[in-house]
Subunit: 340 residues, 2 copies
Amino acid sequence: MAVTIKDIAEIAQVSHTTVSRALRNHPAIAKETAARIQKIADELGYVPNTVARGLKTRSSRVLGVIVRRIDDPFFGEVVDGIEEALQAEGYSLFLAASHRDPEREKGIIRAMSEHRVDGVIICSTQIGVEQVAQLQKFGVPAVLVNNQARETLTSSVFHDDEHGSYEMTRYLIGLGHTRIGYLGNANAGKTNEDRLRGYQRALAEAGLPVEEAFIKAGPNGLAEGGALAMQDCLQLAQRPSALLCYNDMMAIGAIQTLQTAGFRVPEDCSIAGFDNISLSAYVTPPLTTFHQPKKEIGREAAQMMLRRLQAQEKNAAPEIKLLRGKLIARASTARVSNSN
Amino acid sequence: MAVTIKDIAEIAQVSHTTVSRALRNHPAIAKETAARIQKIADELGYVPNTVARGLKTRSSRVLGVIVRRIDDPFFGEVVDGIEEALQAEGYSLFLAASHRDPEREKGIIRAMSEHRVDGVIICSTQIGVEQVAQLQKFGVPAVLVNNQARETLTSSVFHDDEHGSYEMTRYLIGLGHTRIGYLGNANAGKTNEDRLRGYQRALAEAGLPVEEAFIKAGPNGLAEGGALAMQDCLQLAQRPSALLCYNDMMAIGAIQTLQTAGFRVPEDCSIAGFDNISLSAYVTPPLTTFHQPKKEIGREAAQMMLRRLQAQEKNAAPEIKLLRGKLIARASTARVSNSN
DNA sequence: TTGTACGCGTTATCAA
DNA sequence: TTGATAACGCGTACAA
């Protein structure tokens, strides 16, 4: 049976109230009393019961984090950043995977509410809106990361996707490409739109036409989705000489499809990814991509949540933070060749 | 303020005891009373407080999971399996990353003890032994996954690494290779030893000599470690025609080094990885590797823990489970060629 | 079938 | 500077 402050109180011949105070450095406790109690606590191997404390203080010092999958190459790093920031502040982390299943999401929100988490960080869900409402009804603050919904009614952290694809498109233009395509993800919402917009803006600014035929979309953001979109692309009579992909996995799928069809990357077609997942440096050819500062995004989300918890005013205006990444040039893109 | 069973009791004109029972389908409650109370609870949006419940029942229905890094390609999948099994049983999951820092590990163990988790699953640490002792002192059961320590004093789940590398080596022998090397990881303990042993056993059984010169080791299990070990290998006058690597990341590093040095994989040298991390299918050439059933390992660890929690006898003998994976043949290995 | 009274381990209020 | 007492929300032995 675990040691409690009452056990310590008995040995120290004081009240358990005094023990409670001594262990938390309450100012109104004599130094020597505190030291004596502290010593006894150490000897007994006392470990405070945060469950009981939470019941009284109405704060658990636990934050919930919801992701789609735990082994997601993107959000894995984000969660790493979250965890780092929370651990530094003495918070613990409940992690749960929704697997894009609304029922499961509900169950998770429910479980987290029952455990009285102090807040929830939701990483990229479509249906975040509804869940956030559920949480708000219960007074649990939420912070969203790269949320797909169009409206933004809660504190959120986003990567500046439009800026990213704008920069990437300019880079490809700088390499002499004029026929540049975009391989999107039909299953993503806001993110895909933002990336498409940045691409279009860069083309327009450079005086290049936005060819509708060069804008394709795969059914998902996996290698498979990239492969399908690429197959679509190969049907074109006049093909683009460079392609900007929704993300790295799609770029990898696109490259495989190209190579299988007998094309060389980047000689016959330049391919650019997005996100800079760690895998992207190890494929052949290594992927040119746009680095999202994933750990930083996670840290920022965690800190935003902690700030919210500090602020007493419950209904502060939602805070929105936009972070920018940087372009990483590798070998999957090259200057346009004559044959192109 | 959250709704409590007392609020419900007042409205339903019963005692909070009755509410408590009604909400948990206690047999000794009249059906209609239960239904009435349930309805009120729903209308009020009652969410039980598991913190208070845990204080009374001395069980939190929360399990702790410790990994080195959250975005680890291997343990990410293991945790996915753990989470799936726990979610199904209504358990929640505390996740923390140790980053191989003993101080941090201590802090994590401490935090988990304070939160009164029902058990802890530790994924691959060197110093697990000490932490397990700390937990046991506190009566918190632990389950280890692919633990690196040699002694096994707690319930553990392992992948049968010796079997894996034995199978892989036999596969290479079957392709006609006779000069087969092993690129190990000097930083791993038991796992590296087991894989080395399987390799040696397969060679011995086939009547092939175990050349000490063909056994190299990198300083870590990353691409960098594989690259360094490979550089070492390239110095040899007589080189192996096939290499078994400690894991996939080292194999990738080895391949890059070979390719940079002007060798072709698999024509000039076959390379085999281990683990089958998702990345391994996307590199060029796609990696022949040994698949560890990562999700299954996670599920098994979770279920083992749940069984332990069910069993009332605290000091049951530690349970040990060995899971086997399967060989995945891809394009990084080939039949030995004449020039070799 | 339902209710009373108490305890889980901690913090907070008030009084000494 | 310290202590007695109540409270947090829930579960349960015992009584009715």
